[in-house]
Symmetry: C2
């Protein structure tokens, strides 16, 4: 009976965190209130609260759940592409696709969370910053790989190019959220392809043509 209760507890907790991710992507991690979350799940506040012990723990669990979704929706599909330039493009494309598909209804969870917590020191900010740094490092690694395969010119430092690609996707997320402009992802793809085509060597694996995106 103990194991069964534990299993049920885990299921309840998973259901809570699942709903929390959706609410937080729209209302923010602070706008995610225990009362609202309990109402959405038709439970009492204190019943829900008991699964976490503090609001901060709930927020941290929510960030971790969002991370798993990001890995599943962006990184895993992009890994199908060969390392180097092809995967670098696949990562940017998958990231934009995840925004287009509205995996989170409020846009990229991590961009919203980082804007919300960049001025609030503490574990949540640290967690969000670490996860975004991981993503930037992964982009950087793929730039390095593309350069070592002589698919890309070595001229911009890997971290510099990773920053630029990251910024262009942030810009797309910003415009999509603020203006609901569905053409924004195509604009970001053109910008990224223009930059990559400008740096690609003759040995480079084929990238989509700029004209494919309008």
């Amino acid at each position: 009976m103990g194991a069964r209760q534990t299993l049920k507890g885990q299921q309840t907790r998973a259901a809570i965190v699942d709903t929390a991710v959706t609410i937080a992507s729209i209302e923010g991690l602070e706008g995610l209130t225990i009362g609202r979350l309990a109402a959405e799940l038709a439970m009492s506040k204190s019943g829900l609260f008991g699964h976490f012990g503090s609001k901060e723990e709930l927020q941290l669990a929510t960030v971790e759940a969002a991370r798993q979704i990001f890995i599943h929706e962006v990184i895993t599909p992009a890994r199908q592409a060969a390392r180097g330039l092809a995967r670098l493009w696949a990562l940017c494309d998958a990231w934009l696709s995840y925004m287009e598909r509205e995996v989170f209804p409020g846009g990229c969870f991590f961009m919203a969370a980082s804007a919300e917590f960049d001025n609030r020191p503490g574990p949540i900010r640290d967690q969000v910053a670490a996860q975004m740094q991981e993503w930037l490092d992964y982009l950087t690694k793929n730039v390095q790989h593309a350069q070592s395969l002589v698919q890309l010119s070595g001229s911009p430092e890997p971290a510099q190019l990773a920053f630029e690609l990251h910024a262009l996707v942030l810009g797309a997320n910003w415009a999509m959220q603020l203006y609901n402009d569905r053409q924004t992802p195509a604009r970001a793809r053109r910008a990224i392809l223009a930059r990559l085509h400008g740096l690609a060597t003759p040995q480079a694996v084929p990238l989509p043509a700029l004209e494919d995106y309008g």
Copy 2:
């Protein structure tokens, strides 16, 4: 006596809005509470409240004050440069400089406000969106001008290039706020100059060299 009271009222209101801008850039426009603002100014809540009539009016006044600061700190200095490519660069440079000088302690006021309100329909979101659109349009106009002066290739649409420059500065603001990395503005300047150098024609007015920020 009536005129004098009005003048004093205006001064008080201006002092309130001035403090509100600073708080809002750190805590957000919702985190800006009337109680906290009143405490900061050593006034009563209701005395402060009377100047606006609602929290939303206070927030709108705060956005408008931030706009005036942005115009004064970014657009006015950049207007010293000649129209076209020189001014386009001056706008990006002044925007990054305003971030470096921490004109707002919480980073670019409008980036924070747009991330906070992009999922909250209403007058504040509309106001923030309109002001950012004005800025994008101004960047676009300067791209057009540079193209008509044959300083820049006509190949990317003006709005496309404006989007890219905007995204790179957003990316710099994001990294500066989340990581406190003071080298980020130089990274953004290199990215912007690389893009502009790639599109500049032989007739182009001199731009700073990439190596100046290396």
